[in-house]
Symmetry: C4
Subunit: 506 residues, 4 copies
Amino acid sequence: MERVFSLQEISQHNTKDDLWIVLHGKVYDLTKFLPNHPGGQNVILKHSGKDATLTFELYHSTDIIDRFLPPEMYIGQVEQAYGIIPSNKSDENQEQQQETQEEKRIQLARETMPPIEEMFNTFDFQSVARHVLKESAFAYFSSGSGDDMTMRENHNAYHRIWFRPRVMVNVSHIDMTTEMLGAQVSFPLYISATSFCKMAHPEGEKVLARAAGKQGIIQMIPTLASCSLNEIVDARVYPTQLQWLQLYINTDRQMTQRMIQQAESEGVKGLFITVDRAIVGPRGKSANDKDMFEDQGGMEKVLNHERGTGSKTLPSFVDPSMNWKDMAWFKSITKMPIVLKGIQRWEDAVLAWRHGCAGIVLSNHGGRQLDFSPSPIEILPEVIDALKREGCDPSKDFEVYVDGGIRRGSDIFKAIALGAKGVGIGRPALYALGCYGEKGVEYLLNLFKTELAMCMRLMGAPTIKDIQSDMVDTRNLKNHYVANPIDYLAKTTYERLQPRGNLSKL
Amino acid sequence: MERVFSLQEISQHNTKDDLWIVLHGKVYDLTKFLPNHPGGQNVILKHSGKDATLTFELYHSTDIIDRFLPPEMYIGQVEQAYGIIPSNKSDENQEQQQETQEEKRIQLARETMPPIEEMFNTFDFQSVARHVLKESAFAYFSSGSGDDMTMRENHNAYHRIWFRPRVMVNVSHIDMTTEMLGAQVSFPLYISATSFCKMAHPEGEKVLARAAGKQGIIQMIPTLASCSLNEIVDARVYPTQLQWLQLYINTDRQMTQRMIQQAESEGVKGLFITVDRAIVGPRGKSANDKDMFEDQGGMEKVLNHERGTGSKTLPSFVDPSMNWKDMAWFKSITKMPIVLKGIQRWEDAVLAWRHGCAGIVLSNHGGRQLDFSPSPIEILPEVIDALKREGCDPSKDFEVYVDGGIRRGSDIFKAIALGAKGVGIGRPALYALGCYGEKGVEYLLNLFKTELAMCMRLMGAPTIKDIQSDMVDTRNLKNHYVANPIDYLAKTTYERLQPRGNLSKL
Amino acid sequence: MERVFSLQEISQHNTKDDLWIVLHGKVYDLTKFLPNHPGGQNVILKHSGKDATLTFELYHSTDIIDRFLPPEMYIGQVEQAYGIIPSNKSDENQEQQQETQEEKRIQLARETMPPIEEMFNTFDFQSVARHVLKESAFAYFSSGSGDDMTMRENHNAYHRIWFRPRVMVNVSHIDMTTEMLGAQVSFPLYISATSFCKMAHPEGEKVLARAAGKQGIIQMIPTLASCSLNEIVDARVYPTQLQWLQLYINTDRQMTQRMIQQAESEGVKGLFITVDRAIVGPRGKSANDKDMFEDQGGMEKVLNHERGTGSKTLPSFVDPSMNWKDMAWFKSITKMPIVLKGIQRWEDAVLAWRHGCAGIVLSNHGGRQLDFSPSPIEILPEVIDALKREGCDPSKDFEVYVDGGIRRGSDIFKAIALGAKGVGIGRPALYALGCYGEKGVEYLLNLFKTELAMCMRLMGAPTIKDIQSDMVDTRNLKNHYVANPIDYLAKTTYERLQPRGNLSKL
Amino acid sequence: MERVFSLQEISQHNTKDDLWIVLHGKVYDLTKFLPNHPGGQNVILKHSGKDATLTFELYHSTDIIDRFLPPEMYIGQVEQAYGIIPSNKSDENQEQQQETQEEKRIQLARETMPPIEEMFNTFDFQSVARHVLKESAFAYFSSGSGDDMTMRENHNAYHRIWFRPRVMVNVSHIDMTTEMLGAQVSFPLYISATSFCKMAHPEGEKVLARAAGKQGIIQMIPTLASCSLNEIVDARVYPTQLQWLQLYINTDRQMTQRMIQQAESEGVKGLFITVDRAIVGPRGKSANDKDMFEDQGGMEKVLNHERGTGSKTLPSFVDPSMNWKDMAWFKSITKMPIVLKGIQRWEDAVLAWRHGCAGIVLSNHGGRQLDFSPSPIEILPEVIDALKREGCDPSKDFEVYVDGGIRRGSDIFKAIALGAKGVGIGRPALYALGCYGEKGVEYLLNLFKTELAMCMRLMGAPTIKDIQSDMVDTRNLKNHYVANPIDYLAKTTYERLQPRGNLSKL
């Protein structure tokens, strides 16, 4: 027989060492789960002894409880007279007031939002998103690691590649179709996995599923989806629509296994294991910064740990012990092709090939993990070379994808020219989703398609196979130019050339 | 017997699928022409069922109808009581008000315009043009493709070339004369073809013809001239004045043939076939952006097309199927020397030589077509090298021109030093034309001449033949430096060195 | 029997050639010491004939008198009725008013100072320090030499190093412990010597000693400490806590010998001889600038000197004649390992190894001495290579440290990867000390630790030994990019791409 | 018997083709001289038919008339009742008003000018000069050619050279003395020739002579001095003080010969022939711009000329026909060592050596002649190498100087390290002269000396001979980095990292 708790009683379990929380009328004892929460401890502590349902729904699907929470943490029901659990009133009022103000700001921004036809390039969606999303959501999506070096470098690096266009080629017909893991797609781009899409749109990943389906491309479903796997799979617009699963390997391998097998049975066609997130990166702009310490177990724990006690204080959500030996087990529990997402050096690309992966994603997690990681496009040529030296033919045996910084159709062209099978996009889809919903995502995909088609025409490459490496000039690809410090004395004593006479008055 | 239509009747044919328009009292059914309009469909749709004469004249010469419109599209006359065709009044009022406001702004700008003597360099014309031209005209002229990378790179690249001046050379006499396609010119520069000059000046290309003639240089007549070919040819200031024709190859080859033969019979001395415009490029600043989609047949069509139906939806104005095999036919219908304009890699330069062209123009269409195309000056040295490897002597057998980014006399010097026969200018002539008319264009040409003469004197090269490749340092020509992302935290915590004490108060 | 002087009498010895000063009730004749004062002559002249105790205590420990002042300069006591020595009242009032104003400003700044939890990176401490320190203190700490080129380059250079992360490595346990001169430390960072810590905090170097001890790292004690050596040594939090001594070699070698032997007897475990300060560098922002001339003996003296008289006019505080022959004597008077601090080229690194040093610090004195000195991280790889060519194994025989510009955990990682045994920090510790005292320094060290631990995890290097040179991409390390002068005419005539339509109004 | 003219009569000769002017009561017919005026025709035309004495004295010494004006141009005296010649009153009033306003501005600026002690570096003088000089004077001094590229590059290039300091060297004694053309100087810097010093100071070059003498360095006297050669020579502070003469070769070789022989008889010890000014360069900021056309004979003349008439229209002041064959004649008329000033490529350096010159000055005329000329310091190493290949030892047989962009003592060090015998300064001396007169110039020279001495100490190079090429890192010297065009869309959608929370409010 199930226990029933009064609100009064629940509210007393509100400390780090005795922490209850109510979700959908059920009471959970999260004391032991606290250090394992991927989003940091603070957000849970803030709701300790209270009903956290509203906040929970903002980020998570209901099935996440079943997937990640050990069953023994469920301890009972809330009593019948269910209601708002008392809390520090003045705190809450202030918070509510702030929320109301932000809601007003957003409502106003949405009313004056430009019509979708004025989105002329993918950057425009981000400009709108800054205004119509909640501040915390925009900060979470747009933030990078450390000094944001890698995040910005990801797109910057494409600027170091110039074209070598061919003319006098018949480009009446452009065919952008290609294959990914054996399936045909309308053009070489997929929507990559990003966590917590509900922060952008109340229907979250379901919308991305529909837009991808209609546009004939693949959606990669995130482990940390805001919707349940069922919901996302059910959102397919036709039965054979393609979806992949992005996976964080949990310390509890049974959880991982359950998720893989559920996905496989639901018809998911590729397993993308994230390998660049042994720990969550320090994100400069996101509110999670303080949680960096928490994630490592708090400052004191870090200290003690680093002094050599060696106690394992990391959260269990992503297993930091994962290594190449785990590949055998992964392959034993699924028939889906396995792709490693987050490869950042050619040596690891070769290892992935040797361990029987179907491919890799060159990725640095959108610049959100380790600052000064190289941009995927920069290492792509050396990865392709290394694979070829190994006897692997990346045009058929093994698929190499890149993500991070794709903002123009010409970026896709450059990646294909250097040997990628396709590219993934993350933030642009979130911004389009957050601003204009499904229509926005379709519009964004069309922008990419139209720009790619135009680029192929003007480059003299009517099909994907015609896109060759001699069409790009990568001479400067590896060059990172850090400007000499500025000579302010010379700069400020120099008087700039300006139009003179009446011209200066215009 | 010709049919006559009432305004009332005409105004009912105002949809995409049933589209009539009145030009100079004649009624045309443009339903089938719509997707072929090089300027996009929108501008035609806006005038559907109405009299479009005023707008038409702003851009086009009357003979363009005969040249490009199939005769069967003419369907009759407007009835006697010809007048303004009714339209949505409030829309039109608003538009007219806006136009009146802009006219006032322009009138004021023209009244306070600096005297021409204050134009000290070619940039100054652009500064004035921004104020005295219509906003749409300035946007059309000044816009580039994508992120404007290539447009700006075109001039930027000249900054990567430094001089190696020779001193103690007798430079009392400077001789800038040279030959282009066998004819003598006063200095190695020609006015290149640019569409719709009437947006800059009511007499359009005729003014450029006169200025070029007076200065002893060649004018290249555009396919999309605002004046008719006859008018431009008639504007010659002396009978032997040299003109070339720039040509877009139409899907309807007969149209193309008629235009070539008309030009040849009018004494035009060179045929410059544009090869870098299989489709119009996406211009960031121009109002044409939305038309990018239209040009490709609208978003839905692009989608369907790219899904593999392969239906040809491109407009027929420029034939996207043009390729090297067409060269034989071109040569069969004209005796004019044929030059390909828009070559962007040495391999295509060699092909042009092999196919019997008289020369090439290294050009990326002023950065208006494919962003990240290389600047012509950057590829010039490798083109010259490749031609020499092929056994071609670019100093006599085959002429290599460059256009794009020429803004200083020293830019001309650099191009000549690297093997160009001459350079073409586009935008600077338009700005000079738009600001000061014929006097402005002559003044501009004199600025170029004076700067080139001074440069030749100070370089110790008294004649064009003395301009040698060892006079320029091209060591950095191929280097594209993309700055590392900025370290804002370090930058903002650093306090700049500034003059101190009383000095800081000055 | 000791002489006693009246205030009246003292106040008459107030010129350059007859200069008395009172410190703690004692009268000193500093006429001969004046040119040897490391901080310049002006600050002493300002107090000539007066009681300088208050200002003296702001910078110096009491024992500095015994250490550096020849005993014969002490000439007697002040008479009983000790008080403020009369001076130019109006001057003093003005000065006091200014000080009061600054104190108010600082008090206000401290009241609104952010809580320490908002320090998310090491730059944040500097931002706070600018507001809560005295202007003169912040100027002294933050200033560099000449145009501040080297000072900024020190951190900049780390941006030219990018990572090559390894994934699929078990990083459950991170061990950052390592050894320095044979002793274990919690992570590879030490607090380097910086002069006059009391300008940051009234307890000066004692606070650094406590923070270092608690965090398990080494403190390097400066020659120009504000506290006495005894005080700093006594501040150790446990008896075996490690400290090193930084040493300026005095012209009076007996002084030097006394200081070395005192330190050795107090248990100091390493002797770091500064070799990059034959003369104090010109610091652009510091108030010391005028003293640059003084240090060289005044403008006239410099002139006469440089004309060839060759008279030695340098202050004796740091011996400019020090050279490699002195190494034998240094080794003869101490058993402490000797490390040379301020090596800036590989040739000198090799010489240090040949002369039996225990190690070197690659350093340019934080960019405070010679502008355009290279950054330590830039020369580290060539130093390591040269040592290996010499048969020296820098991983065990000889220790190479770097300081200057360390601001991120990733900077430490990069230095270790390139062969450094550890890194020293200077300014960050001063800013943390000045803002939040001991808690601030500990917090700062934890930031470095946490960032390094995270970096090691994401790089796939769980221990210090796992940090290898193939994990960093140093291809651009030696590249100093000075931008071409800006083409202002082109820049100002180009109109930037901006979001358009309603988007531009957001 | 001399003719006498009335003012009335003189005022009627006021056109281009009949042009009289009064100077010091004498009447000159300048009709034929007009196109030869180095300062352009406009300034003379403005005074046609008038008394130009006041303006003349602002720029010229009286002896310039004897030196450069053919005697037959003197035509008589002004009648007794000498006075102001009538002119367009309203014009003159306006001009006078403007001058009065400027004088007021300058007087105010001089009253609030910082004390000389606040000049901490050579840039500071320029900051002051901008405020205390006449606008036209500052524009003339500070202007460069074209886009000011070369002018700025001259100093910029020194930033591409970094140091490799040696430590543990006895630097107690610094000896900066060296030899120039066989004579000893106090340090390796001379004051180069600059025209019209009176625009900076009423006593012009005489002040520079005194300051140079007191500081033991050489002054180079300009052809276009504001003072007469006698005056400048008489300003020597001791009889053996060294002076050189800078020479523009006149079309009238007798004038040139007279000037050389006068200088030689006055004890001038070196002849520096300027070879980089066949024509005056286009100076963007100077009011002379319009005169660029005049200098070339007016726009129409240029045109006609360039069309091939070949008529010589250049002014005769500097002979554009000067070439290597003239070397024999130069050597025949003087015993002074001959140095060519304005060499810009190694080939010409070798030619100068072969033609028996005593040395060369690598110079681009301070960036005032040909834009995109290389900086002297950049070509110095290749010049030294080429001379050595030729069998010439630049350390004794042949002296190589550099000028342009020297602003720091470290710049001098770098030039010496790369093989220069010494450096020349131009603008800094003018600014110091214009702000603080003789004291200012001495102060400036001391700044250079003190910075050089400090640099030598910290570099471990106690004498000039110790300054070796391995002390500088020139790896990036030849690298001209032109930044890729900026990606404004990406830049503006990126939100900068900023201090957060309360920190952002500081």
